[in-house]
Symmetry: C2
Subunit: 282 residues, 2 copies
Protein backbone atom coordinates (compact mmCIF):
# COMPACT_ATOMS: atom_id res chain seq x y z
CA UNK A 1 0.00 0.00 0.00
CA UNK A 2 1.54 3.27 -1.15
CA UNK A 3 1.36 6.70 0.40
CA UNK A 4 -0.76 9.41 -1.12
CA UNK A 5 -0.40 12.99 0.07
CA UNK A 6 -3.80 14.52 0.61
CA UNK A 7 -3.53 18.17 -0.31
CA UNK A 8 -5.20 19.27 2.94
CA UNK A 9 -2.08 18.17 4.82
CA UNK A 10 -0.16 20.98 3.11
CA UNK A 11 -3.16 23.28 2.75
CA UNK A 12 -1.54 26.74 2.85
CA UNK A 13 0.85 25.98 -0.03
CA UNK A 14 0.11 26.37 -3.77
CA UNK A 15 -0.85 23.18 -5.57
CA UNK A 16 2.09 23.46 -7.96
CA UNK A 17 4.59 23.69 -5.11
CA UNK A 18 2.92 20.80 -3.26
CA UNK A 19 2.96 18.52 -6.29
CA UNK A 20 6.59 19.26 -7.09
CA UNK A 21 7.70 18.77 -3.48
CA UNK A 22 5.74 15.50 -3.27
CA UNK A 23 7.43 14.24 -6.43
CA UNK A 24 10.88 15.17 -5.09
CA UNK A 25 10.03 13.21 -1.91
CA UNK A 26 9.26 10.13 -3.99
CA UNK A 27 5.48 10.29 -3.45
CA UNK A 28 3.49 8.91 -6.39
CA UNK A 29 -0.11 9.80 -5.47
CA UNK A 30 -2.00 12.90 -4.41
CA UNK A 31 -5.50 13.59 -3.04
CA UNK A 32 -6.74 16.83 -4.60
CA UNK A 33 -9.21 19.38 -3.27
CA UNK A 34 -11.69 21.00 -5.61
CA UNK A 35 -11.00 24.68 -4.89
CA UNK A 36 -7.22 24.68 -5.55
CA UNK A 37 -7.80 22.78 -8.81
CA UNK A 38 -10.38 25.35 -9.87
CA UNK A 39 -7.99 28.11 -8.88
CA UNK A 40 -5.23 27.06 -11.24
CA UNK A 41 -7.59 25.60 -13.83
CA UNK A 42 -7.97 22.16 -15.35
CA UNK A 43 -5.38 22.55 -18.13
CA UNK A 44 -2.66 23.55 -15.71
CA UNK A 45 -3.69 20.85 -13.21
CA UNK A 46 -3.43 18.16 -15.88
CA UNK A 47 -0.05 19.44 -17.05
CA UNK A 48 1.16 19.47 -13.44
CA UNK A 49 0.03 15.88 -12.94
CA UNK A 50 1.74 14.82 -16.18
CA UNK A 51 4.95 16.66 -15.31
CA UNK A 52 5.17 15.27 -11.77
CA UNK A 53 3.89 11.79 -12.64
CA UNK A 54 1.46 11.97 -9.70
CA UNK A 55 -1.71 9.92 -9.94
CA UNK A 56 -4.82 11.27 -8.23
CA UNK A 57 -6.13 9.00 -5.47
CA UNK A 58 -9.21 11.08 -4.63
CA UNK A 59 -10.92 14.41 -4.99
CA UNK A 60 -12.21 16.06 -1.82
CA UNK A 61 -15.03 16.87 -1.24
CA UNK A 62 -18.72 17.28 -2.00
CA UNK A 63 -22.08 16.36 -0.50
CA UNK A 64 -23.42 18.07 2.64
CA UNK A 65 -26.96 17.19 1.64
CA UNK A 66 -28.43 15.86 4.91
CA UNK A 67 -29.45 19.25 6.28
CA UNK A 68 -30.77 20.74 3.04
CA UNK A 69 -34.01 20.82 1.09
CA UNK A 70 -35.48 22.66 -1.89
CA UNK A 71 -33.19 24.99 -3.82
CA UNK A 72 -30.33 24.51 -1.36
CA UNK A 73 -30.46 20.75 -1.86
CA UNK A 74 -30.60 21.14 -5.65
CA UNK A 75 -27.51 23.36 -5.49
CA UNK A 76 -25.68 20.78 -3.35
CA UNK A 77 -26.60 17.96 -5.75
CA UNK A 78 -25.46 20.03 -8.73
CA UNK A 79 -22.23 20.73 -6.85
CA UNK A 80 -21.62 16.99 -6.48
CA UNK A 81 -22.24 16.48 -10.21
CA UNK A 82 -19.71 19.18 -11.09
CA UNK A 83 -17.27 17.62 -8.62
CA UNK A 84 -17.75 14.20 -10.27
CA UNK A 85 -16.93 15.76 -13.65
CA UNK A 86 -13.87 17.46 -12.19
CA UNK A 87 -12.83 14.13 -10.65
CA UNK A 88 -13.12 12.46 -14.03
CA UNK A 89 -11.08 15.22 -15.64
CA UNK A 90 -8.16 14.83 -13.20
CA UNK A 91 -8.31 11.02 -13.47
CA UNK A 92 -9.50 10.42 -9.91
CA UNK A 93 -11.15 7.06 -9.24
CA UNK A 94 -13.37 8.60 -6.55
CA UNK A 95 -14.96 11.66 -5.03
CA UNK A 96 -15.23 11.98 -1.25
CA UNK A 97 -18.86 12.45 -0.23
CA UNK A 98 -19.68 13.99 3.17
CA UNK A 99 -23.24 13.42 4.37
CA UNK A 100 -23.89 16.80 5.98
CA UNK A 101 -25.16 17.57 9.47
CA UNK A 102 -28.57 17.88 11.05
CA UNK A 103 -30.97 20.69 10.15
CA UNK A 104 -32.16 22.90 13.02
CA UNK A 105 -35.76 21.70 12.75
CA UNK A 106 -35.15 17.94 12.76
CA UNK A 107 -32.36 16.32 14.77
CA UNK A 108 -33.42 12.80 13.80
CA UNK A 109 -30.46 10.82 12.49
CA UNK A 110 -32.47 8.14 10.68
CA UNK A 111 -34.51 10.63 8.68
CA UNK A 112 -31.32 12.52 7.79
CA UNK A 113 -29.81 9.21 6.68
CA UNK A 114 -32.71 8.70 4.27
CA UNK A 115 -32.01 12.10 2.72
CA UNK A 116 -28.38 11.10 2.20
CA UNK A 117 -29.50 7.84 0.63
CA UNK A 118 -31.91 9.66 -1.69
CA UNK A 119 -29.13 12.00 -2.82
CA UNK A 120 -26.76 9.10 -3.50
CA UNK A 121 -29.44 7.28 -5.48
CA UNK A 122 -30.00 10.36 -7.60
CA UNK A 123 -26.26 10.87 -8.11
CA UNK A 124 -25.31 7.27 -8.82
CA UNK A 125 -26.07 7.35 -12.58
CA UNK A 126 -23.93 10.48 -12.94
CA UNK A 127 -21.09 8.79 -11.02
CA UNK A 128 -21.38 5.66 -13.18
CA UNK A 129 -21.37 7.69 -16.38
CA UNK A 130 -18.29 9.60 -15.20
CA UNK A 131 -16.52 6.42 -14.09
CA UNK A 132 -15.91 8.05 -10.71
CA UNK A 133 -16.93 6.40 -7.45
CA UNK A 134 -18.87 8.31 -4.82
CA UNK A 135 -17.13 7.51 -1.53
CA UNK A 136 -19.30 8.15 1.54
CA UNK A 137 -17.04 8.99 4.49
CA UNK A 138 -18.20 8.55 8.09
CA UNK A 139 -16.87 11.41 10.22
CA UNK A 140 -16.10 11.36 13.95
CA UNK A 141 -19.25 11.55 16.12
CA UNK A 142 -18.02 15.00 17.22
CA UNK A 143 -19.38 16.34 13.94
CA UNK A 144 -22.78 14.64 13.79
CA UNK A 145 -24.67 17.91 14.08
CA UNK A 146 -22.43 20.14 12.03
CA UNK A 147 -20.97 17.99 9.23
CA UNK A 148 -21.99 14.37 9.01
CA UNK A 149 -24.93 12.39 10.30
CA UNK A 150 -22.94 9.33 9.18
CA UNK A 151 -20.48 8.43 11.95
CA UNK A 152 -19.79 4.71 11.76
CA UNK A 153 -18.69 2.24 9.09
CA UNK A 154 -21.78 0.10 9.71
CA UNK A 155 -24.02 3.10 9.20
CA UNK A 156 -22.23 4.10 5.98
CA UNK A 157 -22.73 0.55 4.70
CA UNK A 158 -26.42 0.75 5.60
CA UNK A 159 -26.78 4.03 3.68
CA UNK A 160 -25.18 2.67 0.49
CA UNK A 161 -26.62 -0.86 0.70
CA UNK A 162 -27.87 -2.09 -2.65
CA UNK A 163 -26.35 0.71 -4.71
CA UNK A 164 -23.88 -0.51 -7.35
CA UNK A 165 -20.55 -1.21 -5.67
CA UNK A 166 -18.59 0.08 -8.69
CA UNK A 167 -20.09 3.55 -8.46
CA UNK A 168 -20.76 3.95 -4.72
CA UNK A 169 -18.25 3.03 -2.02
CA UNK A 170 -17.20 4.19 1.41
CA UNK A 171 -14.08 5.98 2.56
CA UNK A 172 -12.60 4.90 5.90
CA UNK A 173 -10.65 7.52 7.82
CA UNK A 174 -8.68 6.38 10.86
CA UNK A 175 -9.28 9.61 12.78
CA UNK A 176 -13.03 9.21 12.38
CA UNK A 177 -13.32 5.50 13.13
CA UNK A 178 -10.40 4.12 15.17
CA UNK A 179 -12.55 4.18 18.35
CA UNK A 180 -15.30 2.01 16.80
CA UNK A 181 -15.83 -1.19 18.82
CA UNK A 182 -16.85 -2.97 15.59
CA UNK A 183 -14.10 -1.56 13.35
CA UNK A 184 -12.60 -4.89 12.31
CA UNK A 185 -15.89 -6.73 11.72
CA UNK A 186 -17.39 -3.81 9.83
CA UNK A 187 -14.30 -3.35 7.64
CA UNK A 188 -14.49 -7.05 6.79
CA UNK A 189 -18.16 -6.64 5.95
CA UNK A 190 -17.35 -3.60 3.81
CA UNK A 191 -15.02 -5.60 1.53
CA UNK A 192 -15.19 -4.25 -2.00
CA UNK A 193 -17.16 -1.22 -0.82
CA UNK A 194 -13.92 0.27 0.49
CA UNK A 195 -13.05 3.00 -1.97
CA UNK A 196 -10.36 4.63 0.12
CA UNK A 197 -8.44 4.68 3.38
CA UNK A 198 -7.16 7.89 4.95
CA UNK A 199 -4.95 8.16 8.01
CA UNK A 200 -4.13 10.79 10.62
CA UNK A 201 -3.72 10.50 14.35
CA UNK A 202 -6.06 11.50 17.21
CA UNK A 203 -5.28 13.05 20.57
CA UNK A 204 -6.97 15.12 23.23
CA UNK A 205 -7.23 17.98 23.83
CA UNK A 206 -8.84 19.13 20.64
CA UNK A 207 -7.88 22.66 19.63
CA UNK A 208 -10.55 25.36 19.80
CA UNK A 209 -12.36 27.02 18.16
CA UNK A 210 -11.75 24.60 15.25
CA UNK A 211 -12.24 21.09 16.59
CA UNK A 212 -11.65 19.88 13.03
CA UNK A 213 -8.01 20.94 13.17
CA UNK A 214 -6.66 18.51 15.78
CA UNK A 215 -5.38 15.82 13.42
CA UNK A 216 -1.80 14.70 13.85
CA UNK A 217 0.91 12.87 11.92
CA UNK A 218 0.56 9.07 12.31
CA UNK A 219 2.35 8.11 15.51
CA UNK A 220 1.83 11.41 17.31
CA UNK A 221 -1.49 10.42 18.91
CA UNK A 222 -3.52 7.53 20.32
CA UNK A 223 -4.07 5.39 17.25
CA UNK A 224 -2.52 1.98 16.73
CA UNK A 225 -2.51 1.96 12.93
CA UNK A 226 -1.14 -1.53 12.37
CA UNK A 227 -4.29 -3.54 13.17
CA UNK A 228 -6.54 -1.00 11.42
CA UNK A 229 -4.44 -1.13 8.26
CA UNK A 230 -4.22 -4.91 8.41
CA UNK A 231 -8.02 -5.18 8.47
CA UNK A 232 -8.37 -2.75 5.57
CA UNK A 233 -5.81 -4.79 3.59
CA UNK A 234 -7.48 -8.10 4.45
CA UNK A 235 -10.81 -6.66 3.25
CA UNK A 236 -9.20 -6.41 -0.17
CA UNK A 237 -8.22 -2.75 -0.41
CA UNK A 238 -4.91 -2.24 -2.23
CA UNK A 239 -5.08 1.41 -3.30
CA UNK A 240 -2.89 4.27 -2.12
CA UNK A 241 -3.41 5.34 1.49
CA UNK A 242 -3.90 9.07 1.94
CA UNK A 243 -2.40 10.98 4.83
CA UNK A 244 -4.94 13.75 5.42
CA UNK A 245 -4.22 16.14 8.28
CA UNK A 246 -6.01 19.31 9.36
CA UNK A 247 -3.83 21.13 11.87
CA UNK A 248 -2.96 24.82 12.05
CA UNK A 249 0.34 24.17 13.83
CA UNK A 250 1.40 21.72 11.13
CA UNK A 251 0.29 24.16 8.43
CA UNK A 252 2.79 26.69 9.83
CA UNK A 253 5.71 24.34 9.06
CA UNK A 254 7.76 24.61 5.84
CA UNK A 255 6.31 22.54 3.00
CA UNK A 256 9.30 20.17 2.88
CA UNK A 257 9.04 19.54 6.64
CA UNK A 258 5.34 18.66 6.42
CA UNK A 259 6.03 16.28 3.57
CA UNK A 260 9.04 14.58 5.18
CA UNK A 261 7.14 14.09 8.43
CA UNK A 262 4.19 12.71 6.46
CA UNK A 263 6.45 10.23 4.69
CA UNK A 264 8.15 9.26 7.93
CA UNK A 265 4.93 8.86 9.96
CA UNK A 266 3.36 6.83 7.18
CA UNK A 267 6.36 4.56 6.79
CA UNK A 268 6.74 3.81 10.49
CA UNK A 269 3.08 3.44 11.42
CA UNK A 270 1.32 2.29 8.26
CA UNK A 271 3.73 0.96 5.63
CA UNK A 272 6.31 -0.97 7.62
CA UNK A 273 3.93 -2.72 10.07
CA UNK A 274 1.90 -3.89 7.07
CA UNK A 275 4.97 -5.14 5.21
CA UNK A 276 6.06 -6.99 8.31
CA UNK A 277 2.63 -8.57 8.66
CA UNK A 278 2.62 -9.68 5.04
CA UNK A 279 6.07 -11.23 5.37
CA UNK A 280 4.78 -13.49 8.14
CA UNK A 281 3.84 -17.01 7.08
CA UNK A 282 0.06 -17.48 7.01
CA UNK B 1 -39.87 10.71 35.06
CA UNK B 2 -38.53 12.96 37.78
CA UNK B 3 -35.43 15.12 37.84
CA UNK B 4 -32.40 14.12 39.86
CA UNK B 5 -29.60 16.62 40.42
CA UNK B 6 -26.27 14.96 39.84
CA UNK B 7 -23.83 16.52 42.25
CA UNK B 8 -21.26 17.13 39.49
CA UNK B 9 -23.56 19.81 38.06
CA UNK B 10 -22.93 21.90 41.19
CA UNK B 11 -19.46 20.53 41.83
CA UNK B 12 -17.73 23.48 43.56
CA UNK B 13 -20.38 23.73 46.31
CA UNK B 14 -20.46 21.76 49.58
CA UNK B 15 -22.76 18.74 49.58
CA UNK B 16 -24.83 20.12 52.47
CA UNK B 17 -25.51 23.37 50.62
CA UNK B 18 -26.33 21.48 47.39
CA UNK B 19 -28.78 19.14 49.08
CA UNK B 20 -30.56 21.94 50.91
CA UNK B 21 -30.79 24.11 47.79
CA UNK B 22 -32.09 21.14 45.79
CA UNK B 23 -34.77 20.49 48.39
CA UNK B 24 -35.84 24.15 48.36
CA UNK B 25 -36.12 23.92 44.55
CA UNK B 26 -38.49 20.96 44.89
CA UNK B 27 -36.00 18.38 43.65
CA UNK B 28 -36.51 14.92 45.20
CA UNK B 29 -33.47 12.97 43.97
CA UNK B 30 -29.72 13.42 43.94
CA UNK B 31 -26.79 11.67 42.27
CA UNK B 32 -23.89 11.59 44.73
CA UNK B 33 -20.16 11.48 44.10
CA UNK B 34 -17.96 9.34 46.30
CA UNK B 35 -15.38 11.95 47.38
CA UNK B 36 -17.79 14.57 48.81
CA UNK B 37 -19.62 11.83 50.73
CA UNK B 38 -16.35 10.61 52.19
CA UNK B 39 -15.42 14.19 52.99
CA UNK B 40 -18.42 14.83 55.25
CA UNK B 41 -18.68 11.20 56.39
CA UNK B 42 -21.46 8.61 56.16
CA UNK B 43 -23.32 9.61 59.32
CA UNK B 44 -23.63 13.21 58.24
CA UNK B 45 -24.55 12.21 54.68
CA UNK B 46 -27.37 9.99 55.93
CA UNK B 47 -28.67 12.70 58.25
CA UNK B 48 -28.56 15.19 55.37
CA UNK B 49 -30.54 12.82 53.13
CA UNK B 50 -33.10 12.25 55.90
CA UNK B 51 -33.40 15.97 56.63
CA UNK B 52 -33.82 16.97 53.00
CA UNK B 53 -35.92 13.97 52.00
CA UNK B 54 -33.69 13.42 48.97
CA UNK B 55 -33.41 9.91 47.60
CA UNK B 56 -30.15 8.87 45.99
CA UNK B 57 -30.49 7.97 42.31
CA UNK B 58 -26.87 6.95 41.78
CA UNK B 59 -23.35 7.06 43.13
CA UNK B 60 -20.59 8.20 40.74
CA UNK B 61 -18.16 6.64 39.94
CA UNK B 62 -15.80 3.67 40.00
CA UNK B 63 -14.16 1.28 37.56
CA UNK B 64 -11.35 2.41 35.21
CA UNK B 65 -10.15 -1.17 34.94
CA UNK B 66 -9.55 -1.54 31.18
CA UNK B 67 -6.02 -0.14 31.19
CA UNK B 68 -4.82 -1.84 34.39
CA UNK B 69 -3.24 -5.10 35.41
CA UNK B 70 -1.61 -6.64 38.47
CA UNK B 71 -1.61 -4.58 41.67
CA UNK B 72 -3.15 -1.56 39.95
CA UNK B 73 -6.06 -3.64 38.75
CA UNK B 74 -6.54 -5.19 42.21
CA UNK B 75 -6.64 -1.69 43.71
CA UNK B 76 -9.23 -0.58 41.15
CA UNK B 77 -11.40 -3.67 41.84
CA UNK B 78 -11.15 -3.06 45.58
CA UNK B 79 -12.13 0.56 44.97
CA UNK B 80 -15.28 -0.59 43.17
CA UNK B 81 -16.15 -2.90 46.08
CA UNK B 82 -15.77 -0.03 48.57
CA UNK B 83 -17.89 2.16 46.29
CA UNK B 84 -20.58 -0.54 46.17
CA UNK B 85 -20.63 -0.61 49.98
CA UNK B 86 -20.83 3.17 50.11
CA UNK B 87 -23.66 3.06 47.56
CA UNK B 88 -25.55 0.60 49.74
CA UNK B 89 -25.00 2.81 52.78
CA UNK B 90 -26.49 5.89 51.12
CA UNK B 91 -29.38 3.87 49.71
CA UNK B 92 -28.35 4.17 46.07
CA UNK B 93 -29.80 1.58 43.67
CA UNK B 94 -26.69 1.75 41.49
CA UNK B 95 -23.06 2.62 41.10
CA UNK B 96 -21.79 4.17 37.86
CA UNK B 97 -19.06 2.02 36.36
CA UNK B 98 -16.63 3.56 33.86
CA UNK B 99 -14.65 1.07 31.76
CA UNK B 100 -11.31 2.85 31.64
CA UNK B 101 -9.16 3.73 28.64
CA UNK B 102 -6.54 1.92 26.62
CA UNK B 103 -3.14 1.01 28.07
CA UNK B 104 -0.10 2.37 26.24
CA UNK B 105 1.07 -1.08 25.17
CA UNK B 106 -2.19 -2.42 23.69
CA UNK B 107 -4.65 -0.18 21.85
CA UNK B 108 -6.96 -3.06 20.97
CA UNK B 109 -10.55 -2.30 21.94
CA UNK B 110 -11.79 -5.90 21.95
CA UNK B 111 -9.11 -7.12 24.32
CA UNK B 112 -9.76 -4.14 26.60
CA UNK B 113 -13.46 -5.03 26.50
CA UNK B 114 -12.64 -8.52 27.76
CA UNK B 115 -10.79 -7.02 30.72
CA UNK B 116 -13.86 -4.91 31.55
CA UNK B 117 -16.03 -7.99 31.29
CA UNK B 118 -13.72 -9.98 33.57
CA UNK B 119 -13.83 -7.20 36.17
CA UNK B 120 -17.63 -7.04 36.06
CA UNK B 121 -17.86 -10.82 36.43
CA UNK B 122 -15.63 -10.66 39.47
CA UNK B 123 -17.58 -7.76 40.95
CA UNK B 124 -21.09 -9.04 40.27
CA UNK B 125 -21.41 -11.20 43.43
CA UNK B 126 -20.36 -8.22 45.55
CA UNK B 127 -22.91 -6.02 43.79
CA UNK B 128 -25.62 -8.64 44.28
CA UNK B 129 -24.79 -9.02 47.96
CA UNK B 130 -24.91 -5.25 48.42
CA UNK B 131 -28.17 -4.92 46.49
CA UNK B 132 -26.53 -2.25 44.33
CA UNK B 133 -26.47 -2.43 40.57
CA UNK B 134 -23.25 -1.91 38.64
CA UNK B 135 -24.17 0.45 35.78
CA UNK B 136 -21.70 0.39 32.88
CA UNK B 137 -21.75 3.78 31.15
CA UNK B 138 -20.59 4.20 27.55
CA UNK B 139 -18.70 7.50 27.18
CA UNK B 140 -18.40 9.65 24.06
CA UNK B 141 -15.87 8.23 21.54
CA UNK B 142 -13.71 11.28 22.31
CA UNK B 143 -12.59 9.48 25.44
CA UNK B 144 -11.90 6.00 24.10
CA UNK B 145 -8.19 6.22 24.83
CA UNK B 146 -8.27 8.13 28.08
CA UNK B 147 -11.40 7.04 29.93
CA UNK B 148 -13.65 4.44 28.37
CA UNK B 149 -13.13 1.78 25.74
CA UNK B 150 -16.91 1.38 25.87
CA UNK B 151 -18.45 4.02 23.60
CA UNK B 152 -21.78 2.70 22.34
CA UNK B 153 -24.93 1.25 23.87
CA UNK B 154 -24.60 -1.89 21.73
CA UNK B 155 -21.06 -2.40 22.97
CA UNK B 156 -22.08 -1.92 26.61
CA UNK B 157 -24.81 -4.54 26.12
CA UNK B 158 -22.23 -6.90 24.60
CA UNK B 159 -19.92 -6.42 27.60
CA UNK B 160 -22.63 -7.20 30.19
CA UNK B 161 -24.44 -9.91 28.18
CA UNK B 162 -25.40 -12.89 30.32
CA UNK B 163 -24.61 -11.24 33.66
CA UNK B 164 -27.60 -11.03 36.00
CA UNK B 165 -29.75 -8.08 34.97
CA UNK B 166 -30.60 -7.25 38.60
CA UNK B 167 -26.98 -6.64 39.54
CA UNK B 168 -25.45 -5.39 36.27
CA UNK B 169 -27.06 -2.76 34.07
CA UNK B 170 -26.04 0.06 31.77
CA UNK B 171 -26.27 3.81 32.22
CA UNK B 172 -27.24 5.84 29.16
CA UNK B 173 -25.97 9.41 29.02
CA UNK B 174 -27.35 11.69 26.31
CA UNK B 175 -24.07 13.57 25.86
CA UNK B 176 -22.23 10.32 25.22
CA UNK B 177 -24.74 8.65 22.91
CA UNK B 178 -27.09 11.12 21.18
CA UNK B 179 -25.07 10.82 17.95
CA UNK B 180 -25.42 7.01 17.77
CA UNK B 181 -27.12 5.94 14.53
CA UNK B 182 -28.60 2.94 16.37
CA UNK B 183 -29.66 4.78 19.54
CA UNK B 184 -33.36 3.92 19.36
CA UNK B 185 -32.94 0.26 18.38
CA UNK B 186 -30.22 -0.31 20.95
CA UNK B 187 -32.19 1.34 23.76
CA UNK B 188 -35.13 -0.91 22.88
CA UNK B 189 -32.79 -3.91 22.98
CA UNK B 190 -31.41 -2.74 26.33
CA UNK B 191 -34.85 -2.86 27.99
CA UNK B 192 -34.49 -3.85 31.64
CA UNK B 193 -30.70 -3.42 31.44
CA UNK B 194 -31.21 0.35 31.63
CA UNK B 195 -30.18 1.27 35.15
CA UNK B 196 -30.07 4.99 34.61
CA UNK B 197 -30.46 7.88 32.21
CA UNK B 198 -28.41 11.06 32.46
CA UNK B 199 -28.84 14.19 30.40
CA UNK B 200 -26.73 17.16 29.40
CA UNK B 201 -26.35 18.95 26.09
CA UNK B 202 -23.56 18.82 23.50
CA UNK B 203 -22.09 21.60 21.37
CA UNK B 204 -18.91 22.42 19.51
CA UNK B 205 -16.41 23.83 20.14
CA UNK B 206 -15.27 21.79 23.10
CA UNK B 207 -13.37 23.78 25.68
CA UNK B 208 -9.66 23.07 26.10
CA UNK B 209 -7.64 21.77 27.83
CA UNK B 210 -10.50 19.86 29.49
CA UNK B 211 -12.61 18.38 26.72
CA UNK B 212 -14.69 16.76 29.47
CA UNK B 213 -16.04 20.10 30.60
CA UNK B 214 -18.11 21.09 27.58
CA UNK B 215 -21.47 19.81 28.81
CA UNK B 216 -24.40 22.22 28.74
CA UNK B 217 -27.84 22.60 30.26
CA UNK B 218 -30.47 20.69 28.23
CA UNK B 219 -31.58 22.95 25.39
CA UNK B 220 -28.33 24.91 25.11
CA UNK B 221 -26.73 22.55 22.56
CA UNK B 222 -27.44 20.22 19.63
CA UNK B 223 -29.43 17.47 21.31
CA UNK B 224 -33.11 16.82 20.66
CA UNK B 225 -33.97 15.20 23.99
CA UNK B 226 -37.62 14.36 23.29
CA UNK B 227 -37.08 11.31 21.04
CA UNK B 228 -34.18 10.05 23.16
CA UNK B 229 -36.24 10.27 26.33
CA UNK B 230 -39.26 8.70 24.65
CA UNK B 231 -37.18 5.67 23.64
CA UNK B 232 -35.75 5.32 27.14
CA UNK B 233 -39.26 5.47 28.59
CA UNK B 234 -40.63 2.99 26.04
CA UNK B 235 -37.82 0.61 26.97
CA UNK B 236 -39.34 0.51 30.45
CA UNK B 237 -37.15 2.90 32.42
CA UNK B 238 -39.13 4.92 34.96
CA UNK B 239 -36.46 6.07 37.42
CA UNK B 240 -35.32 9.62 38.09
CA UNK B 241 -33.37 11.27 35.26
CA UNK B 242 -30.12 12.86 36.33
CA UNK B 243 -28.90 16.13 34.94
CA UNK B 244 -25.11 15.78 35.04
CA UNK B 245 -23.06 18.68 33.69
CA UNK B 246 -19.32 19.27 33.71
CA UNK B 247 -18.65 22.88 32.76
CA UNK B 248 -16.31 25.38 34.35
CA UNK B 249 -18.39 28.37 33.25
CA UNK B 250 -21.51 26.87 34.81
CA UNK B 251 -19.58 26.04 37.98
CA UNK B 252 -18.82 29.76 38.37
CA UNK B 253 -22.54 30.56 38.70
CA UNK B 254 -24.28 30.90 42.08
CA UNK B 255 -25.64 27.58 43.39
CA UNK B 256 -29.26 28.70 43.13
CA UNK B 257 -28.76 29.81 39.53
CA UNK B 258 -27.29 26.45 38.51
CA UNK B 259 -30.16 24.64 40.16
CA UNK B 260 -32.91 26.82 38.70
CA UNK B 261 -31.41 26.52 35.21
CA UNK B 262 -31.15 22.74 35.71
CA UNK B 263 -34.81 22.55 36.72
CA UNK B 264 -35.85 24.78 33.84
CA UNK B 265 -33.78 22.97 31.16
CA UNK B 266 -35.01 19.61 32.40
CA UNK B 267 -38.66 20.69 32.43
CA UNK B 268 -38.64 22.19 28.97
CA UNK B 269 -36.54 19.58 27.17
CA UNK B 270 -37.06 16.33 29.07
CA UNK B 271 -40.11 16.44 31.34
CA UNK B 272 -42.70 18.36 29.35
CA UNK B 273 -42.07 16.73 25.95
CA UNK B 274 -42.42 13.34 27.62
CA UNK B 275 -45.63 14.33 29.41
CA UNK B 276 -47.03 15.59 26.13
CA UNK B 277 -46.12 12.34 24.42
CA UNK B 278 -47.77 10.27 27.13
CA UNK B 279 -50.95 12.35 26.97
CA UNK B 280 -51.34 11.45 23.30
CA UNK B 281 -53.80 8.64 22.54
CA UNK B 282 -51.97 5.46 21.57
Amino acid sequence: MELSLNQATTRPYPLVAIAEAAMRAGIRHIGLWIEPVEEIGMARTKRLLADTGLSVSSVCRAGFVADKEGAELRAAIDGVKRALDLSYDVGSPMLTFIAGGLPAGDRGIRSAELRVRAALEELEPHARAAGVRLALEPLHPLFVGSRSVVTTIAQALRVVAGLPVESVGILIDSYATFWDPNFHDDVAAAGARIAGYQVSDFALPLPTPENMFGRLFPGDGETDFAPLTASIRRAGFTGPVEVEIFNEDIWKLPLETIISRTVDGFKRHVGEPLNELERQPV
